[in-house]
């Protein structure tokens, strides 16, 4: 390693960062194709192509169209959305360990889904999605409200504490229900671990508008988030209406993180590590962090999901379990390397 301290790119080094983004998109496409092609059933790229252009109803083509492609699209969308939500959470709370879990979003969604199974006997993924989204929204709004009641208003610290307290409370209720009801546990086990398998395209299409709107809001307020990350007093002093930006960011986070948890269940770790990896490349400007996080998050979840299929063949693991296995060592390596820099 060189001894010269690593120079971070300037906010206005547009050309290299723009090229990097295009390169990232290329890599994402490759991973997407790999995700469609690879799996327990080995299917050639030619068959993949034919499944899309000249469908003949063969088993392989059916697998591609009904299993692999929906699964890959789910991983792509969820990975990108969770990573962007995590990056925004970290900027908003000025807490490097923040992820969508910290606003209580995952916990709220989990309780809503577990509750719906326990009391209403829900069994379909698409009804889970509705409850998850509802739970996520209620959780985030509650945490925001609790956070603004604290001393000094809606400060990063108050938001973090409110989120942690809410998560602790709600998770204990969820655990309680699962202990009381064996049936609910059986029903919900796989959802709770987080997985992108077995989602049909209708479900994805149902949630897609939420993700799109959330992503558009996120990308639109990138510049404002960069300024807000200097601290609320500074941002206000520079003429930013910080209350507005915080609400816009919250709406975007609810849509992205809530939408993701609705499709795939709570996928941990991506929201935490991807923003850090991305910052390492592009610096501190959210106008670049957010699009890079979207691409990197999507790529990472696709790769993790390929791993989930191949690690213990012919069995499969939920990607929510593989993600930390893959992510944690890398994350530790990254932080250590950064600290020693």
């Amino acid at each position: 390693m060189s001894t010269i301290s690593r120079q971070r790119p300037s906010l206005r080094s547009t050309i290299p960062l723009g090229l990097g983004l295009i390169l990232g998109l290329g890599l994402l496409l490759v991973c997407f194709m790999a995700s469609v092609g690879l799996g327990v059933a080995d299917i050639s790229l030619k068959t993949v192509y034919e499944a899309l252009t000249a469908f003949d109803g063969s088993t392989d083509q059916l697998i591609i169209r009904t299993v692999r492609i929906p699964r890959s699209i789910t991983a792509l969308l969820v990975g990108g959305a969770v990573a962007v939500a995590g990056a925004m959470m970290q900027g908003l709370t000025r807490n490097p360990l923040a992820d969508p879990g910290i606003l209580g979003i995952n916990a709220g969604a989990a309780l809503a889904v577990v509750g719906s199974v326990f009391w209403l006997g829900t069994t379909s993924l698409s009804i889970y999605a509705g409850f998850a989204l509802l739970g996520a929204a209620i959780a985030a709004i509650t945490v925001y409200a609790l956070g603004s009641l604290g001393r000094g208003g809606l400060t990063p610290l108050n938001l973090t504490i409110a989120g942690a307290a809410f998560t602790a409370l709600v998770s204990s209720i969820t655990t309680g229900v699962l202990i009381l009801s064996q049936r609910t546990l059986e029903e919900i086990r796989f959802w709770l671990a987080g997985s992108v398998a077995g989602r049909d395209l209708d479900l994805v299409v149902q949630v897609l508008p939420y993700l799109v709107v959330g992503m558009v809001i996120a990308l639109a307020i990138g510049k404002q988030l960069t300024t807000l990350s200097l601290g609320e007093d500074i941002a206000q002093g520079l003429g930013q209406n910080t209350a507005w930006i915080k609400v816009a960011a919250a709406v975007s986070i609810i849509l992205l993180a809530g939408g993701s948890v609705a499709i795939a269940g709570p996928i941990s770790f991506i929201g935490l590590i991807v923003p850090h990896i991305v910052r390492f490349w592009v610096g501190v400007d959210y106008r670049w962090i957010l699009p890079y996080a979207a691409i990197a998050g999507a790529t990472l979840l696709l790769v993790a999901d390929i791993g989930a299929r191949l690690i213990i063949q012919p069995q499969e693991l939920p990607v929510g379990l593989v993600m930390p296995l893959l992510g944690a060592p890398f994350f530790i390596y990254l932080t250590r390397w950064q600290v020693r820099r």
């Binding site: 301290s5 120079q7 971070r8 300037s10 906010l11 206005r12 000025r94 001393r151 000094g152 639109a220 510049k223 960069t226 300024t227 990350s229 200097l230 601290g231 007093d233 500074i234 206000q236 002093g237 520079l238 003429g239 930013q240 209406n241 910052r279 610096g283 501190v284 400007d285």
Partner: protein, 275 residues
């Protein structure tokens, strides 16, 4: 009558009451900050100096009363419009890890940009000027967390300068700096005031620096103005006793001729004077 006074005052407060969590910190305060001068707020911890500065800079909504920026009620101006006329630097700001000096200073252009408006020539000019006047050009591409405290503070001041405002509010700009760096920052502010006739309002803890650099002093005690005026009017033994509860002697600063406050502690042992 009021309109006359507004012309020569950058900021004026009328019956300003500021409260934190329902607790009144500044009580019904009338204050006028003269244009083009350096005004220093002094007072003991918890007297409301920082709160007042926040109130003047619209970071804190008044419970009662009004702050006027020139002739305009600050509550009626958009926060962006205020940011074009008044820059402020809170106490001990922290930047995200890895932010470079230049990127920080560029943030000062925020109020001059729209949602889609790109970086303009004027932005570039102001940022370069702010970097050069604070002598931060050579550090422009260094990360803030790799710099010394003094350099970091100069970078933050450069950011507020890039904002290109006539008024600067600074909350303890010398905190955590060693003496040499304190003087460096104060000299920089003095130059800005002299050469650009910018109005500067700052909170300082060091009374002697306050007298040296301040055109006007405002001594605050328990949320009200105990005394305001020129340093030699405000800085008296009685004031130090009443406001700080400290016995002292005021002598003349041998360098600048401004008042110099020598505190009388309990430990006094007469030693031979230094020759």
């Amino acid at each position: 009558m009021i309109n006359d006074t507004f012309a020569s005052y950058a900021l004026t407060t009328r019956k300003l009451t500021l409260a934190y969590e329902g607790k009144v910190v500044i009580d019904s305060l009338d204050l006028a900050i003269p244009t083009g001068k350096i005004t220093v707020l002094v007072g003991p911890n918890g007297c409301g100096k920082s709160t007042l500065l926040k109130g003047l800079g619209r970071l804190l909504k008044p419970k009662h009363g009004v702050v006027y920026l020139g002739c305009d009620s600050i509550a009626k101006l958009s926060t962006k419009a205020i940011a074009k006329r008044l820059g402020l630097l809170p106490q001990g700001p922290t930047a995200p890890e890895g932010l470079t000096v230049r990127d920080l200073v560029a943030q000062g252009r925020y109020p001059h940009q729209g949602w889609l408006q790109q970086w303009s020539k004027e932005d570039e000019k102001q940022v370069n000027w702010a970097l050069s006047i604070t002598q931060m050009q050579e550090f422009a591409h260094c990360a803030l967390d790799n710099l010394s405290g003094g350099q970091r503070q100069r970078a933050w001041i450069a950011m507020t300068l890039a904002q290109d405002t006539d008024i600067l509010l600074l909350d303890e700009p010398t905190t955590y700096l060693d003496l040499a760096h304190q003087m460096e920052v104060l000299d920089l502010l003095y130059d800005l005031n002299q050469e650009q006739s910018r109005t500067i309002v700052m909170v300082l803890h060091d009374l002697n620096q306050a007298c040296r650099y301040g055109d006007y002093l405002v001594a605050l005690k328990d949320g009200i103005v105990y005394k305001q005026g020129y340093p030699n009017q405000v800085m008296t033994e009685t004031m130090v006793q009443d406001v700080f509860g400290l016995e002292s002697q005021i002598v003349s600063d041998p360098v600048a001729g401004t008042p110099l406050c020598i505190p009388i502690g309990r430990k006094i042992s007469i030693k031979a004077p230094i020759r």
